[in-house]
Amino acid sequence: MLKIEETTVVHDFSPHLYQQFQEIVKRYPVESAKAALLPILHVVQAEFGWLSVDAMDKVAEYLDIQPIEVYEVASFYTMYFLRPQGKYMLEVCRTGPCCLVGAEKIMKYIEQKLGVKEGDVTPDGLFSWRGVECLAACGFAPVLQIGPEYTFYENLTEASVDQLISDLTIKANN
């Protein structure tokens, strides 16, 4: 389980962000607005790249629930980052079916290529990587995804990983 980072980071929520919250809350009965928590956390993470304590507290205040109700959810689910990540987080499937066709090799290759261990950030702040569990694409393995839009890359080879990393580096520097 992930630990909540003690931090003094402050994340200001824009009116646009609150507008998105309002749209989400409309989907549920008024007395059950807590159901908006997971989708709201996704929107917040897409905005800031991770969930700071400050951001989670603001979400709690908005939904009129206790901060602990937000922390316990944010720490239960694997998609929420409780500390900053690289701009591009490469999430490679490491589960059985993908390993039958070379997922472990691809993970090793990515580790070597980026020069950082699983979960760490490259010095330029651009990349992180980690192994994740079955992404429901086992027939197109090996696969990886990149948030916040969860763009998907299938049938990975060392060459396609090289291409991807160079494309993303160019994109980030422009």
């Binding site: 989907r27 159901a35 239960f76 689910y77 929420y80 589960t95 059985g96 079955c134 429901a136 916040p148």
Partner: protein
Amino acid sequence: MGRKLLLEHINVPNINTFDVYRSKGGYAAVEKALKTLSPEDIVEEVKKSGLRGRGGAGFPTGMKWSFLAKPEGKPRYLVCNADESEPGTFKDRFLMTKIPHLLIEGMIIGSFALGAKTSYIYVRGEMMPQIRILEKAIAEARNAGFLGKNILGTGYDLELYVQPGGGAYICGEETALIESLEGKRGNPRIKPPFPAIAGLWGCPTVVNNVESIAAVVPIIRDGGEEYAKIGVGRSTGTKLISASGNLVKPGIYEIELGVPVEEFIYSDEYCGGIANGKRLKAVVAGGSSVPILPANLINKTINQEARLMTYESLSDGGFATGSMMGSGGFIAFDEDQCIVRNTWNFARFYHHESCGQCSPCREGTGWMEKVLHRLEYGHGKLSDIDLLVDVSRKIEGNTICPLGDAAAWPVASAIRHFRDEFEWHVTEPKFCLQRNYGLAHYADPLPKPEPVAV
């Protein structure tokens, strides 16, 4: 060629748009349902079809619908389970990407049949692209008058929303899914009460898999009896099979239930055989949770009958020599694969995904992972193998939700069928790091068992 009910138009350009879907006869089943059938008629048709839940448990969908409580003054909900995370399963993602309106059409019919006025599609959070696709398709359907107030002038109102998960396999379990949809951790609930009585926000709720809901469309369009004509015995209709691993053509196939397993693996219509000219060593036939079978038990049952892709035939032989249909995640292992390594990988998966509420599952999955890790890396003892069997037995049946069983079965079955490969990891600790055990005798024909006198 087998009949296609779900993927018939899958290759039509732009079938993901409302207009093209509609031009191919889409939404005709909704018109038929809302204008000419009562909710009870629809449930009856689904019962007649014999459709069994495609999420893994195989429970008859029509029966599930008929169990829904209908207390006065309480809303009822239909929730679609699009959490798809069972290793080896990738059909729901495909369906939602390629033909989202099929799911939406099924959701409208199902919601009408159950008397739901608000319904949710709970999609695993990583499927953000699919969430966008569904949201767009919902907007199109609403513009065309198939969602919202007074649908097609029939007086029926329905709102349909997409809810993202947060990344947790356990949220595929229906009560964990409901907890998650309510904005909480995905901890499965103790049953009873079942969701049919007290589900989402304490209201009567039906949870169905994406494919089950999609299958309702052809059932209502053509009638339950037509659907039931396809298949064998209690395995009716068509099923999406996700084929992965060492196959020439991995991918998603819609099969008529009853296709022989051998044909599915080797014919060019389906997987086209084992990749790179290798030989088949093992198959996990229904997603990572079901027992693994060696090659010599997959094409034929222990009684030397051809094994078929049906619920009954895949489980023929019970736990001793059979497996299960599960979610239809068909994983093929070639002769170069290490069963110990794969079993360790699956155990790691279940340990990672255990929600931690029950000690047998929380602790047991961790032990199994640890013991399998040391076996895989040549540090194990022979007694570890029986220890694994013992731990798996202590988990099985002693937990709140079936994840415990799902974690125990792959380990127990791997040891049952591949015990000598596990032993080899102990007796040859150096070799096992350099090479794999190989095919060994796992594809050798089995002798026909002597009839047992009763």
